[in-house]
């Protein structure tokens, strides 16, 4: 059976259908998980997509983390389920405490909409297991608050435990240690600012997001 991926939809999400499309392209089943429903509906993996959940009011992710669905996502993650937060989804996962650190305004105060190069730094995560260590991937970014920051202690822990899974080849936003994506200690929750779903077809300019999404499907398809 094809793995089922649930894609969370908040008011203001705008990348959920792109994720659904990319998952189906890779042979997975995808369905939308409404933010007001306190369930992940038995899916095999959850993606918290990009956008501006609840208008990003107060702080990106600050309101979304209290959505009914997020309680279910937290339980799913605590049970070892694969959860990936992309862009605004990464912000939501940090606010929800599923990932350490925070995302603040880009150094330079510019909204960045461009394609960047990412280096795969660890293949030990639900989003990078099928990628090649050290490979450079061209993936779009599209954010104003993607400047990853955390305490020196947290950074040391991320580095020591090999939890930085993706780094920018050229840091676009001021993120500490060039961090583009991290995983949690259990390696089943990943957050990243770049959009792998927008690099899922040559028509979109790059297919380099596919190994990442394929990793998620492979994890989701494997019995826990």
């Amino acid at each position: 059976m094809a793995p089922r991926v649930g894609v969370v939809q908040f008011p203001g999400s705008n990348c959920e259908l792109d994720v659904v499309e990319a998952v189906r392209l890779l042979g997975g089943d995808a369905e939308i998980l409404w933010h007001g429903d306190a369930t992940v509906a038995g899916v095999d993996a959850v993606v918290v997509p990009g956008g501006f959940a609840h208008g990003d009011y107060l702080r990106p992710g600050a309101i979304a983390r209290f959505s009914a669905v997020m309680g279910a996502v937290s339980e799913f993650a605590a049970a070892g389920g694969a959860v990936v937060g992309i862009c605004n989804g990464f912000q939501v996962l940090t606010e929800a405490g599923l990932l350490p650190g925070a995302l603040q305004k880009n150094r330079g105060l510019k909204f960045l909409c461009t394609t960047v190069e990412l280096r795969v730094e660890s293949v030990e995560s639900v989003l990078t297991s099928e990628a090649v260590h050290g490979a450079v991937l061209r993936v779009p970014i599209n954010h104003f608050e993607g400047n990853y920051t955390c305490s020196p202690e947290t950074l040391a822990e991320l580095q020591d435990q090999d939890q930085v899974v993706l780094r920018y080849v050229q840091n676009p936003n001021g993120s500490v240690d060039d961090i583009a994506g991290i995983t949690n200690a259990g390696r089943n929750v990943v957050g990243l600012m770049p959009h792998p779903e927008r690099a899922s077809s040559a028509l979109l300019g790059s297919e380099d997001g596919l190994p990442l999404l394929r990793s998620l499907l492979a994890t989701a398809g494997a019995p826990a």
Binding site: G101, A102, Q104, L109, T149
Partner: protein
């Protein structure tokens, strides 16, 4: 009793403040040469009903920690005052 609350949210010391830095860099162009240490935050005002000022403050501190600030990067300064009697 009704209390007026002012919460001032600022980035924690040591956290880079790109907005503050940009403002500070632009000031010399306007002739303000002696300004430094610009930090940008936000202020949030609301009223809260509580038995006394202590319990109002306890509730607001909890609200700040759990919602109004992200403790990873932000601090809050809370000012609680008795709302005017006319407000009742």
């Amino acid at each position: 009793m009704l209390f007026s609350v002012l919460v001032e949210v600022s980035l924690r010391e040591g956290v880079a403040d790109p907005q503050g830095a940009t403002i500070e860099r632009s000031l010399p162009h306007l002739g303000f040469d002696g300004v430094r240490g610009v930090r940008v935050g936000k202020s949030i005002r609301f009223d809260v009903e509580a038995a006394d000022e202590g319990s109002a403050r306890t509730e607001v501190d909890d609200l700040c920690r759990r919602f109004l600030t992200n403790p990873v990067i932000e601090d809050a300064t809370v000012t609680v005052t008795v709302a005017e009697a006319a407000a009742r």
